[in-house]
Symmetry: C2
DNA sequence: ACGACCGGTCG
DNA sequence: CCGACCGGTCG
């Protein structure tokens, strides 16, 4: 469909949402809009839930476009009683974590693997402790914990031990460099340290064309962020749900790669990677 | 004076600006407002220049309060033709660098010391090269270069060599951890690596009281950011221009300290520190 | 309570 | 062109 956008100041623009029909767009709105200001629903839950709903409804659409052009723009237009843009900042990052856990746990459960969001302060403290990272990582630099039954560090009474963590980021900007010191420590401890991103980035009018190309650049013209992974190997792997992100070539200097996939379905690059590394 | 603020949504609030009179406030407005939308003036220059003007006009006021309650709120209210909040984000950080250089260079020149903003891409590349940091720091993680006549690294034809750098941040948030890897490398190279901050942070209504207490916590209840300096020694020193920032005690675990001072005048903690370290 | 979340800007 | 800048939010 063609989505019409209004940027105020007389700036209008149109963006092409591939593999999303007008009817599908309307159904996403019908699901999401009532949740945005519902006092019984945390915004992060509304956003995470709407993303899972929308990517299941439109499995061939670009997940990053759904997030950026549909959910972001709808949320900031509809949110009332608070600063909509800052509320999006505060809640959408956690919404992405929630969506990851909701999306992958049912598939991973069959393999004795479990993901948990570390949004709550105590969950994070306990997880850092179990990874042996307390005091070595400045605060909280891992968002989702990955555990496996019968393996990993600090096995609990339920038999699950910590085998890795996910650094979840909607967009990268310069902020991804925050996560690198923690990631290197985790990898040195034998833990998987995965960068999971929607790689959202478009340039709005009047200068930009709104096409959500992300920030990882290309193989021939890599950005610093691509070099962090393919060159320095600062993460075990990177998974992008922006279909415009250029994936890594078959081999890389560090042996670490960027993988690109949709968000819906059962198995994808991320589950394949976890199963290969953990089983 | 008492400043009345309007946060929309029916939220008004009043903030006490100590050591700023109504007349002084009016003079700052008269200086700053015409520059905000002047196409001949870069916003960072307008902000940096207005800060130097205002801190000279009101030398006993809290510089961080001038920045946060006067310049920030005036800029975002007056800016037109672009998103005012994001324009502030983009330009105010560089405005702070400009103000630092403008404030300190006249005083330091008498001692053969020079500061230069590394805003321009080529200045930054050249500076990183001279510090021996190219490729070792992910991109550009130092904002202002400090040079001394007849000393330091990569002495130029004018006799000035690089002796250190400044990480300039209006506010700290989690973003200060970005600068630590670069800072540690700089210190290992024998360079000064100074964190210079306005330590701006207040909580707006309806939850907060707008008092700009910053983020460094207290000696008895330190924040992670205070620990970075006093505990880990991740920077050579930290200078805050928020008079509400609690300075370090006489001694610290790392031997590194947080110093607090006003912004106007000739010598202050920062110049004392540079002269002690460099002469 | 005090921390980390993210994106339009503009050089 | 493509990077780093910062602050209201809300748990």
């Amino acid at each position: 469909m063609q989505l019409n956008l209004d940027f105020g100041r007389g700036l209008g623009a149109q963006v092409d949402l591939q593999n999303i029909s007008d009817d599908q767009y309307a159904r996403i709105q019908a699901y999401f809009v009532p949740l945005i200001n519902d006092p019984r629903v945390k915004s992060r839950e509304a956003i995470g839930g709407a993303f899972v709903f929308a990517t299941n409804l439109c499995p061939d659409a670009n997940p990053s476009d759904i997030w950026h052009h549909v959910l972001y723009r709808t949320y900031t237009r509809e949110k009332v009683g608070t600063n909509p843009e800052q509320s999006w900042v505060r809640t959408s990052g956690e919404g992405y974590e929630i969506a990851l856990v909701e999306r992958y746990n049912p598939v991973l459960a069959a393999h004795g693997i479990r993901m948990s969001s570390l949004i709550s302060g105590k969950a994070k403290v306990s997880a850092l402790d179990r990874m042996g990272l307390t005091g070595r990582i400045g605060g909280s630099k891992v968002d989702v914990m990955i555990e496996k039954d019968g393996a990993g560090l600090s096995r609990g009474r339920d038999g699950f031990g910590v085998v890795g963590g996910i650094h979840a980021k909607v967009s990268l900007a310069e902020r991804v460099s925050d996560d690198i010191p923690a990631s290197r420590i985790m990898m040195a401890e034998g833990l998987l340290s995965v960068l999971s991103t929607l790689d959202v980035k478009s340039f709005p009018p009047p200068h930009g064309d709104l096409v959500n190309r992300g920030e990882l650049g290309t193989l021939t013209n890599p950005s610093d962020k691509r070099r962090y992974i393919e060159g320095h190997g600062d993460f075990s792997a990177c998974f992008s749900y922006n279909l415009r992100t250029t994936p890594s070539a078959e081999t890389t200097a560090s042996g670490r790669s960027i993988y690109v996939s949709g968000f819906a379905g059962a198995n994808d690059h991320f589950t394949d990677y976890l199963l290969a590394e953990l089983t």
